[in-house]
Symmetry: D2
Subunit: 360 residues, 4 copies
Amino acid sequence: MPSSSLGQMFVVTNFGESHGPAVGCVIDGCPPGMALAEADIQRDLDRRKPGTSRHVTQRRESDAVHILSGVYEGRTTGTPIALVIYNEDQRSRDYGAIAHQYRPAHADWGYMAKFGLRDPRGGGRASARLTAPTVAAGAVARKWLFETLGIEIRACLTELGGRPVRFEDWSCVNDNPFFAPNASQIEELESCVDAARKSGDSIGARLRLEVLNVPAGFGNPVYDRLDADLAHALMGINAVKGVEIGDGFAASALTGTTNADRMLPGGFASNHAGGILGGISSSAPIVAQVAIKPTPSVRLPLESLDEEGRPVEVVTLGRHDPCVGLRAAPVLEAVAALVIIDAALKQRGQCGNLGRAYPR
Amino acid sequence: MPSSSLGQMFVVTNFGESHGPAVGCVIDGCPPGMALAEADIQRDLDRRKPGTSRHVTQRRESDAVHILSGVYEGRTTGTPIALVIYNEDQRSRDYGAIAHQYRPAHADWGYMAKFGLRDPRGGGRASARLTAPTVAAGAVARKWLFETLGIEIRACLTELGGRPVRFEDWSCVNDNPFFAPNASQIEELESCVDAARKSGDSIGARLRLEVLNVPAGFGNPVYDRLDADLAHALMGINAVKGVEIGDGFAASALTGTTNADRMLPGGFASNHAGGILGGISSSAPIVAQVAIKPTPSVRLPLESLDEEGRPVEVVTLGRHDPCVGLRAAPVLEAVAALVIIDAALKQRGQCGNLGRAYPR
Amino acid sequence: MPSSSLGQMFVVTNFGESHGPAVGCVIDGCPPGMALAEADIQRDLDRRKPGTSRHVTQRRESDAVHILSGVYEGRTTGTPIALVIYNEDQRSRDYGAIAHQYRPAHADWGYMAKFGLRDPRGGGRASARLTAPTVAAGAVARKWLFETLGIEIRACLTELGGRPVRFEDWSCVNDNPFFAPNASQIEELESCVDAARKSGDSIGARLRLEVLNVPAGFGNPVYDRLDADLAHALMGINAVKGVEIGDGFAASALTGTTNADRMLPGGFASNHAGGILGGISSSAPIVAQVAIKPTPSVRLPLESLDEEGRPVEVVTLGRHDPCVGLRAAPVLEAVAALVIIDAALKQRGQCGNLGRAYPR
Amino acid sequence: MPSSSLGQMFVVTNFGESHGPAVGCVIDGCPPGMALAEADIQRDLDRRKPGTSRHVTQRRESDAVHILSGVYEGRTTGTPIALVIYNEDQRSRDYGAIAHQYRPAHADWGYMAKFGLRDPRGGGRASARLTAPTVAAGAVARKWLFETLGIEIRACLTELGGRPVRFEDWSCVNDNPFFAPNASQIEELESCVDAARKSGDSIGARLRLEVLNVPAGFGNPVYDRLDADLAHALMGINAVKGVEIGDGFAASALTGTTNADRMLPGGFASNHAGGILGGISSSAPIVAQVAIKPTPSVRLPLESLDEEGRPVEVVTLGRHDPCVGLRAAPVLEAVAALVIIDAALKQRGQCGNLGRAYPR
């Protein structure tokens, strides 16, 4: 019952706190024989890491990953892969003031209620920093998925602070600090984030996730459906409050005939379903969207309670992202990779194949 | 790695097909000593069962539950509780025509791709009938949650076929065939479903779920967060395409200060978070919303392929709900009960308590 | 965390009590497409069932298995297979006297300490009757193992009531009520059991298990080693108190050179290891031995306590095997099948193959 | 399905190779609020570490443990505890000769068959060095068990190279390099090990494990019985080939009346059962014994095959224990602690208590 583990065949166990010595994970069940070097993992970590633009937290971390096990002479051995990222820039003094206060919209009170104590430094284990090990593990998974099945995974911003981000082109997504799928709206997005930062407040975002070339047959009929597992992993990302597969909430206003993705020779006529039917992949692109709430850490004062139950005004200093959604794209991609590889290995285990192509 | 199981401490393993001899489940890990009779379970099953109004499938099932184990002299023994519901009204002949065709928006093709064969009778395992065992298990869970912690769980319709259902009052929800939270809109909803049924098409719905009196402290920081587990269970219900916790997608347009639920002496000032912060319950009501796609089974012809890959026109006869969302409220309540009891028992196991009340 | 489940990919969840309505299990994760009928399962159940000779309990059970799900038109569908065996001959009145007493060497006190209540009828869930579902599930597993990999599984008696049972020939094992591997000692064994039964006492036994044609590569390096999983499953059989793999306890007196199974072209020179090295199958026959304690139910009076802690003399009436080891061979075979199929499917999932033959 | 994890509530995930950068583990599910420092763990690691006498491997490792997460201001936070032990004395050049040969009685061939490649340095993941993380995790578990329930765990040598080691006194066990329970036989044991080392051969051993003050009620009726879980963990230790609970194999020669542990006011009259009945702890001391095969690494030449299937003579140089059993006592204690804490937390989760005392 490892609560900090994700997956059943490709199992990632996450550890660490924002201001402890390190964050990291152990991957158990990785297929053996795959070429793997730290650079393969670093690429995705660098896309997520803090301090890369003025729009994200200014914490300085190289986020260099170290492989402690499971790789021999450049290949995975099939045994556990331990990945460690040492924390470098812990400025814990910033947090003294709020060590005994519950920040509204934060995990502080929940942790105290659950565990009876908590590590207040930088959010402890509730920090978005804990997505770094997820991204590292996801990099291993996506490498296997691409090499074995040609699967590609991508995510982009679709809304920022309530304003829609126009989809124009996947190609520019990694060229701007917002993972925005257009080049023309960047100035507007910069102003939006700058305004939030200056006001001391924070904003939310929405992102779209796509997984291409997933064969049909991954997932399960009941409970551990592919959409259910994906929803679990996506909702498990810090600050995510909503998850949609395919048309998502818009589907409830369609009729059965408008929602049905007709099967034509050569492919589906549409993809309302987002690539998953009855909990099982259909070979159409898997499409999901998430909503991310505004960062709870704001410099403006908020009413709350301290650990004694006394009213206090909380002001959160420290370094924070004015919008955690800005660094979320690589995290979405990572959890998608983890969910898909797990489904792939389970399919191979039970059924002896890696799914099937759309019927010719 | 049981894919058909839900939960880690209170584990429900689901079995059965729509037109096989029976559907059912085994509950492993139920706390011992709780009074339990079949009538306690039947109540929720009857709320979900087919044939109760003209608006749902006309299949005639008594849905009588049989307890095969785990109860002695009216009390749970702590050992596995096997629950069986025998199928009574399998009219499988209706399905002959589509036995070798892939119905669009259905699981047919996915099952074939995954398993290489499928049981086409009534949707086989992909049928919404498989929510019956979930509801049965949920009834056991909610009884324990209510008796031990005073937890109450309720769900209602919030949208039908694209039209909003006004929230007026929880008290009338179980008095109409739509689980609608108002008495004044029933005629309108009846017309809406009648129109869908007559046209041979189907419609979607949205529902709201609330869980009251959950103590603070249930859930986990990373991966198996309470919201993640809830999203998994809700997205695992047939036809669900979107899940929101608290404000859900609306949260992405808020600012940090408007989204923050201030903690006042006596309680939270608001509940944007939907009762879960950092993956852990906060003691505020847990609130979620789901979107349900229109029933894929429609009488209107749809283009598709047969098992040989040849184009066909599919017409789905058989008996179907024009809107699966109409019977979904008890299912939402059941999966919520299962997720919460699992979190409760895990909390008690690891931390030695059943959570904590809001700080006085 | 289902405690009543065995396996991770081929998961068997066991339910039922000796004198409840039924015993049974749900198999989740069975490979699809395998021909399966009730008769395939009944064969092994009949080898285990009570009342087949004067040497075992005289309870009359047909032990007829019913497949409730997971099989369509004679083939496994890949979805959960529910197997139910209805209890027919519950003579619970026999147990009235001991309903509130703790029988020595029995599970009575442990159940009461754990659960705070217990089902005293026929041992409730602690009865050896609960091995019937295990045998049923094992029959499904061994069918797949034989058809897919040619794996054969067999067990025989090696000691009864302290006297060695000579190994002569596997062929006669299923022709005598003791699963003894010789035809010449049967009278002696009959006398031995008759004497125990007449005296009102009971005796123990040892059995040997062999699994042939397991490819090399099944199992794991650490914790879930193949020998560890086998030991878990074997020690989990009622009344088993010791488990050996290969030479077992005798290995501790060997030297490294005498214990080493040299690898020659064509095969191992010996099999001290019992087919498992470093937790992984070697392709040599897997060999294990278990010790089974004497049946705790005896007609002779024993000092004990009642539920109030008062001293009592316990006399166990009811119908019991004078030696539970006599019906254990099919159970050993079943758990071996369950452990091996689980390892096979995990191997296929992670590594994409079903193991490897001895190097030519 | 993490194969490198042990436990379901207190979950230990093991990683590392003998000659990689580090070995370690992640503990998920530790109860929060327990005082914990590296010194608490180091104590047990030092009892297991190499190089402490001439009788064990001369590899020089400080085996210093580093806590990377899960502890804040000296107390466990309830979140994952990552423990790392960096390897310091990897003399991998010693292994060059056998990098492409299968050492008899070793895991070499099994790993190759399973994974298609292997890390030959020092046995890679099959090395007994991988018991270090187990011991580290066990130290955390036993601290909680002692502080919460007064549970004590101890192990000692009972046989070395075929010769019985007399039990005299637990007090001297930690004062000699053999974990022998007597002071008078030490010279004899030294000669025995010296002889083995000089001959280039190796010897086996047996050990006894005792766990005191375990309350009644830990464990489960079917499959995950306490004895089954203990057998799994013990058989999962490198080189263990046999496991007995209580009287073990001797039990098969007893009668029901001689084997029955009568319950008297104040306690059991005997402990043939070894503290576990029906898979559940009885409150009597838990007693187990294991057999450990001779170290497979010997300097004497053995016939085998190389990776091309060609006959070779294998001579294993490098540094090895002439008897791995000599350092096994702390490992037995550790796995016992891990099994018992897991059962304790599961009991608390399901039943709301930590077991029960013997009935007064």
